[in-house]
């Protein structure tokens, strides 16, 4: 009994740590949603591309510490590109075209990755030590710890920047009311672009910390987008750190159901949870309710 419980706890902890990575990708959704009420349906593709770029950078001899910022810069550029090419026009026209266009840009990203890096999954080398740490009989590997601390670190950093720098406050003003912000001399478009770039950088960073655990491949994108969406929506697209809790819950649920029901059903509980959350509380568990105005 005790051994079984320990195995389950091990599963839950491992999943929860991985769930932090989902939370980080979901955080990218939050950033862009706050700025322009749009999210990138190709966010998973950005994660995948970030991981591949990081892999290539280590491939040309750069150390991991240099490859990660390099991938983040590339991710920021990609995020900026998605906003400029796919989102801006549709948002100006106030239609849902951006959903399609971000899917399209993501599709191109997958195709490009398939042709540049190949269709097969590749391992991602990391400088973390081998072996694992043990707490109360539950072992935690170094890459898993890196995911948790990296995800929390980046989120904390961006949140601090949002609250305590002029630029961050300007972005917050734009998310509250873009027209009013513009009247106060803030360039709304630039602020939205910046949010997308930061979101892209976060996605690329997520790629470089997830890849050591999962390997890198073009197929990782679609599944990640959906998981990150589940986290973001269950928590609420304006929930702040609520999504860390949702991420941990989803990651644990995934591992446990994979273990208890069967590996094919791994993703099912998260998806059912997502549909239920959308049906019962569309604004998310930690989100605020929207009032219809006429």
């Amino acid at each position: 009994m005790n051994a079984e419980f320990l195995a389950l706890a091990q599963m839950a902890v491992g999943g929860g740590l991985m769930g932090m990575a989902y939370a980080l990708v979901a955080y990218g959704f939050q950033l862009t949603y706050a700025a322009g009420k749009a999210v990138n349906f190709g966010q998973g593709e950005l994660v995948m591309l970030g991981a591949f770029i990081g892999l290539s950078l280590t491939g040309i001899g750069l150390p991991y510490w240099a490859a990660v910022p390099g991938a983040m810069v590339a991710g920021a550029a990609l995020g900026w590109f998605v906003e400029r090419a796919a989102v801006r026009l549709a948002l100006q026209q106030r239609n849902e075209g951006w959903i399609l266009l971000t899917i399209i840009v993501g599709l191109f990203g997958v195709s490009a990755a398939e042709n540049i890096w190949g269709r097969d999954d590749k391992p991602f080398p990391v400088p973390w030590p081998e072996g694992a740490l043990e707490f109360f009989g539950i072992s935690v590997t170094w890459p898993e710890l890196a995911i948790a601390s990296g995800a929390l670190g980046i989120m904390a950093l961006v949140e601090l920047a949002k609250r305590y720098t002029m630029l961050g406050i300007a972005v917050q003003a734009v998310s509250a009311d873009p027209d009013a912000a513009e009247l106060c001399g803030i360039r709304s478009k630039s602020a939205i672009s910046l949010s997308w770039a930061v979101s892209g950088a976060a996605a690329a960073f997520a790629g470089t910390i997830i890849a050591p655990v999962t390997t890198v491949g073009p197929t990782m994108a679609a599944a990640l987008t959906l998981k990150a969406f589940s986290v973001a929506v269950v928590a609420g697209l304006d929930s702040g750190f609520g999504l860390v809790l949702a991420g941990i819950a989803l990651g644990s649920a995934e591992n446990l159901s994979g273990f208890l029901i069967g590996s094919g059903w791994r993703e099912a509980p998260g998806l059912i949870l997502l549909i239920l959350a959308l049906a019962l509380r569309p604004q998310g568990i930690f989100g605020k309710k929207i009032i219809r105005k006429v």
Partner: protein, 637 residues
């Protein structure tokens, strides 16, 4: 345009002729284009045609990004395949396929249809992923990832070879096309278009947003099931992975590429989706097609450059995408490997450059070349007639309260309006007038208090229920059905009568001449009158007008006063929110004044105007005026 034809033909007739020609050509195609492979492709195209017509119901007409269609298609295919394995005759297998998609589709529709935009897309996306997991993991039934093989059954003892099966699919496509068109051009279709523009208005006018959304989604799901059943019989082999995200994206993009809200567009999308992989295998043909596309895309920015302006993003982005596609066609070592990427580039160019798809663009050109005869307008009948509403109070609100956070927007309001009375509701900005109307019309649910309209107690917080109690309202912020014409806007919310009665309502508000004008092209004042006509067409006992004269020109206000007087003479009870005191004085029997969410005065317009409390609410007392001034001065900028 250089060429101009005036055929005196109605557009509808022309469309019929073109459609019949298309189907005759398609039916004759197997005579020229032989071979199993060609027939397989043609059949796939018709199957996708059915599927995309179904997808268009949600993506096009409802305007929601639906990512579940591929999964529903798969469910239909598996349902039919399992039925065929159980030796069920072909027509029944088709029905099983439809049911296999319709039932889970309905189960998805119930929670999802309250959602909008990204949330709706997301819930359908998770449904799609769940479906593939389910098909993969239910190995005893579906044979899991190994796949399921079936043999095409015969139809009433006729052996269906590839050609015959193709003809069967073609007939199904024709029937689907026709049925879809009939349905979507009926009042049902108008309602769907209306609710896309303003779900609040469709509920307030009793059209029923959720019901129509659910029906449109069900129709799309049923067609997905039908297409799936045909697909299973066409291929004879099914695998869960084939119905995943990739197919979904391709289908979605097919609809957008072909053109939304249009069966021609769905068919064109199906043709492109089916034929593109084959085009890619022939490099020269593909390269020349892309070059042609490049020229098409570059024409529009060049025209702008010639007028010495900079082309917009909408004009340049397609050129960039097509140039990238051309580069791939020429330089990539294996074009087929880039299939998804090239598809993405095409789509990007189409979504940005041709928002109505290729058929939309073709329609615009056709309409420029050929002058179609306009549909004749019927003679107006009906209009505003005396109403026999039940005796007693027309509206009785008792102790209504509503607060938003800490703000008491409506604070313990009791209001009694007599039958046939025109009752004014005035007060400074933010005094809670619109919130009160929102409570009465059921947009908001009151925190406490009760409400009775013409002797009926509507369900609190239900627009539809308030409509059933025979109340109707207009909106301070206009809620037009932008995609519909003025006439269609009336027809979609009429309680009874047909097109000539609809003309009657337009005549009553003086918009008869603008019947065929789209709401998006109408002026602000006209839209305000159209909203009143819409509300009148529901034949209300109680009519709530929320600032009808706001933003209107002087002559329009005179027209409005005349109109409201006519409505009043017909015996309809009116609750009028208005800031124009002359309008209030001229029309209202009694006036209620609100301030800070509370009623502060009630009486005839004259009494109210002299009430010191009212004067204070509008102009402030001496003390508070100075206080307010200093507050404004102290505010940081």
């Amino acid at each position: 345009m250089l060429i101009h034809f005036n055929l005196g033909l109605r557009e509808k007739t022309a469309e019929w002729i073109m459609r019949l020609t298309l189907f005759s050509c398609l039916a004759a195609l197997p005579m020229i284009w032989h071979g199993e492979y060609a027939l397989g492709l043609l059949t796939l195209m018709t199957v996708y045609g059915v599927l995309l017509i179904g997808l268009d119901a949600t993506v096009g007409y409802l305007g929601q990004i639906n990512l579940a269609q591929a999964a529903l298609f798969g469910l239909g295919a598996y349902g039919a395949a399992l039925a065929i394995q159980a030796a069920v005759p072909l027509p029944l297998a088709l029905l099983v396929g439809i049911a296999a998609a319709l039932i889970p589709g309905a189960a998805l529709a119930v929670p999802s249809l309250r959602l909008e935009g990204p949330q709706f897309a997301l819930s359908t996306l998770s449904f799609a992923t769940l479906t593939v997991i389910f098909l993969n993991e239910s190995e005893p039934v579906t044979n899991g990832a190994l796949g399921l093989s079936i043999i095409r059954p015969s139809l009433f003892n006729i052996v269906l070879d590839s050609t015959r099966f193709y003809w069967l699919c073609l007939m199904v496509l024709f029937a689907t096309w026709w049925a879809s068109q009939l349905m979507l051009r009926s009042r049902f279709g108008l309602a769907i278009e209306a609710l896309r523009d303003s779900p609040t208005a469709t509920d307030a006018l009793g059209i029923g947003t959720l019901r129509h959304k659910a029906l449109a989604f069900a129709w799309g799901s049923a067609l997905a099931g039908l297409a799936g059943a045909l697909h299973a019989m066409n291929f004879g082999y099914l695998q869960p992975a084939a119905f995943g995200y990739d197919l979904m994206v391709i289908l979605l993009l097919g609809v957008v590429f072909g053109g939304r809200r249009n069966q021609w567009g769905a068919f064109a999308g199906a043709a492109v989706v089916t034929m593109l992989p084959n085009l890619l295998s022939n490099r020269t043909l593909f390269a020349s097609l892309v070059t042609f596309g490049c020229f098409l895309a570059i024409a529009s920015p060049i025209r702008t450059l010639l007028t010495r302006k900079l082309p917009s993003f909408r004009q340049t982005a397609p050129v960039a995408a097509m140039a990238a596609a051309l580069a791939l066609a020429v330089f990539a070592s294996n074009v087929e490997e880039w299939r998804k990427g090239i598809f993405a580039l095409f789509l990007f160019a189409a979504v940005v450059g041709l928002p109505d798809g290729i058929t939309g663009a073709a329609t615009i050109i056709l309409r420029k070349v050929i002058c179609f005869a306009p549909d004749p307008l019927p003679v107006a009948t009906g209009g505003i007639q005396p109403v026999a509403s039940p005796a007693g109070l027309a509206l009785h609100a008792l102790n209504l309260r509503k607060s938003f956070g800490g703000v008491k927007a409506v604070d313990n309001v009791t209001l009694e309006i007599m039958k046939g009375e025109t009752h004014g509701l005035i007060g400074p900005n933010g005094s809670g007038k619109t919130t009160l109307v929102n409570l009465i019309s059921g947009l908001y649910k009151p925190d406490s208090g009760s409400l009775e309209i013409s002797g009926v107690r509507p369900i609190p917080g239900s627009l539809m229920s308030a409509y059933s109690a025979r109340s109707a309202r207009t909106f301070q912020n206009l809620q037009p059905f932008s995609g519909l014409t003025a006439l269609e806007s009336i027809m979609v919310c009429q309680r009874d009568g047909g097109i000539s009665e609809a003309m009657g309502w337009l005549h009553a508000v003086g918009l008869e001449a603008k019947a065929r004008l789209r709401c998006s092209e109408m002026s602000y004042g006209d839209l305000r009158f159209l909203e009143i006509a819409r509300a009148l067409a529901t034949r209300p006992y109680v009519l709530m007008l929320d600032e009808p004269a706001a933003g209107m020109s002087k002559p329009d206000i005179i027209r409005l006063v005349d109109l409201v007087s006519t409505i009043k003479r017909a015996g309809i009870t009116i609750l009028l929110i208005e800031h124009h005191q002359d309008v209030i004085a001229e029309l209202c029997d009694r006036v209620t004044v609100m301030d800070g969410g509370q009623l502060i005065a009630l009486g005839t317009p004259d009494q109210v105007r002299r009430n010191p409390k009212v004067i204070e609410a509008y102009l402030g007392s001496d003390e508070s005026a100075t206080q307010a001034k200093s507050e404004i001065g102290a505010q940081p900028c």
